[in-house]
């Protein structure tokens, strides 16, 4: 759905739920998920409705994902790093991750 305006930059490899995904250097996790066409990154703790990155500026908290084992991180505020492990979330976060 989303198309990059400029895809000539260096690429990074990371994983989403264990599957390899490519990102451009400088992508946030949220924008990399959108660019990779991943439909939703979590379901809500209350109704279980699917959510995807929305505001991309730290305000809406819809892009919450587990990054390198830490739950409920705001994907739009974290730049992708080589080898990063991103996991989508179902409902409430589990303490300890």
């Amino acid at each position: 759905m989303f198309k990059r305006l400029d895809d000539t930059g260096a690429t990074l490899a990371f994983t989403v739920d264990g599957k390899p995904v490519r990102a451009c250097a400088g992508d946030t996790v949220a924008s990399a998920l959108l660019a990779a066409g991943i439909g939703h990154c979590r379901t809500t703790p209350v109704s279980g409705a699917p959510r995807a990155p929305y505001c991309l500026m730290g305000a809406c908290f819809d892009c919450l994902v587990t990054i390198d084992g830490v739950g409920n991180r705001q994907g739009c505020l974290v730049p992708v790093r080589e080898g990063m492990k991103v996991e989508t979330q179902e409902g409430k976060r589990e303490v300890g991750r």
Binding site: P45, V46, K92, R93, E94, V95, G96
Partner: protein, 374 residues
């Protein structure tokens, strides 16, 4: 509002006033509930939501008995509220834990409970001291520093914001006249009825019940009553929603039905509800993490301070005026724990026109005179 007549005017729209109004309406009385506006300092919106028994009543055994009575009445109180409003206030009574982080804290706990239960006249109820392993069996995520806990099966908790909203829905459904922004400035008794002068005119009623929390201190003397109060500040913070991992309400920590974890048990002097002391939050957080190390990387989403309604000796006050018959005062710290008693026991007494001395006689404010004279 002038000339409009009510059987009872309840002053104060927090948990105590709302529970009492609901109970009075259930008795068939025409009730007016006079409240302040949205900016009122309201303990009912800042409390910790415990229905708590195990630490109540050292120094006044009837307070322990009163707390046990309310805890035991809470299930049917919650069921009645659900019947009338369709809302479940999530009352749960899995028993509560008071965790100790050192042998000294545990010994203090043992000593406290021993003295509490040795008092003449106290009802028998179960409390037990658990060691680390016994606590770990029922709360597997405790940290290694938890040396033990006291456990009482009568302790529970509730969703207290939902309780507050539900009580207001219930009184509305029962035809109670709710009058917000009617701060009471003066009360007179004239021609067999009470005239309450408010910021929005006068309200008249045959009886009055003062349930205005710490403000009862100013209101009670207007009708020959007294309510010596000593307000206290507390700070609370709340985490993001996480999957259920705490199974019991505890002193200073509980996981709500919605998944958030509430943390906080500070007691401070001061009456500024807007002030947040970061040092106190830091100490509270540090202790919470020692109890439950998994909390270390959970995000805090909100923090607040609130003013505890507290009588001078910490015990409730229920009294009726000798000089102004028909005037009652209700003061207590535990508006959540005692909500069932206020709705189902105290309100019917007020409806009958006299407090039942056998049940609430020990809570008369006359006790303060004995202490001052002694």
């Amino acid at each position: 509002m002038a000339g409009k007549e009510f059987d009872v005017a309840v002053v104060g729209g927090g948990l105590v006033g709302a529970a009492t109004s609901w109970g009075l309406a259930r008795e068939g009385l025409r009730v007016a509930l006079l409240d302040e506006g949205d900016r009122a300092v309201r303990a009912s919106r800042g409390n910790f939501a415990l229905v708590w028994v195990q630490s109540k009543g050292l120094g006044l055994a009837p307070y322990a008995n009163w707390s046990v009575r309310s805890s035991n009445a809470w299930r049917s109180f919650a069921d009645l509220l659900k019947q009338e409003t369709g809302v479940d206030v999530s009352f749960q009574r899995p028993g509560g834990l008071h965790l100790a982080l050192s042998e000294r804290e545990l010994e203090a706990r043992v000593d406290y409970l021993k003295r509490l239960h040795a008092q003449p006249g106290i009802v028998e109820y179960q409390t037990e001291i658990l060691d680390h392993d016994e606590v770990a069996k029922i709360e597997p995520d405790i940290g290694p520093e938890v040396v033990g806990a006291s456990y009482c099966p009568l302790d529970g908790h509730v969703n207290s914001l939902r309780l507050f909203r539900t009580l207001h829905a219930a009184i509305n459904a029962r035809g109670v006249t709710y009058l917000p922004s009617h701060r009471v400035e003066n009360i007179m008794r004239e021609g067999g009825e009470f005239r309450l002068m408010t910021t929005q005119g006068e309200v008249r009623a045959g009886r009055i019940a003062l349930a205005a929390g710490n403000a009862n201190m100013q209101l009670a003397p207007m009708v020959g009553l007294e309510a010596p109060m000593k307000p206290e500040r507390g700070q609370v913070f709340v985490t993001e929603r996480v999957r259920p991992f705490l199974h019991h309400p505890m002193n200073g920590a509980r996981q709500t039905d919605e998944g958030t974890v509430m943390i906080g048990d500070s007691k401070e002097e001061g009456t500024d509800p807007a002030e947040l002391k970061i040092g106190i939050s830091a100490t509270t957080a540090e202790r919470a993490i020692r109890r439950f190390p998994l909390l270390a990387n959970v995000n805090v989403v909100r923090a607040w301070s609130a003013i505890r309604v507290m009588t001078k000796d910490g015990f409730p006050i229920y009294d009726e005026s000798e000089t102004h018959p028909g005037a009652f005062v209700l003061c207590c710290h535990s508006g959540v724990t005692l909500a069932a008693n206020h709705a189902l026991t105290v309100a019917p007494m007020i409806a009958r026109g006299a407090l039942d001395k056998a049940l609430v006689g020990p809570f008369s404010a006359r006790r303060f005179h004995v202490q001052e004279a002694g």
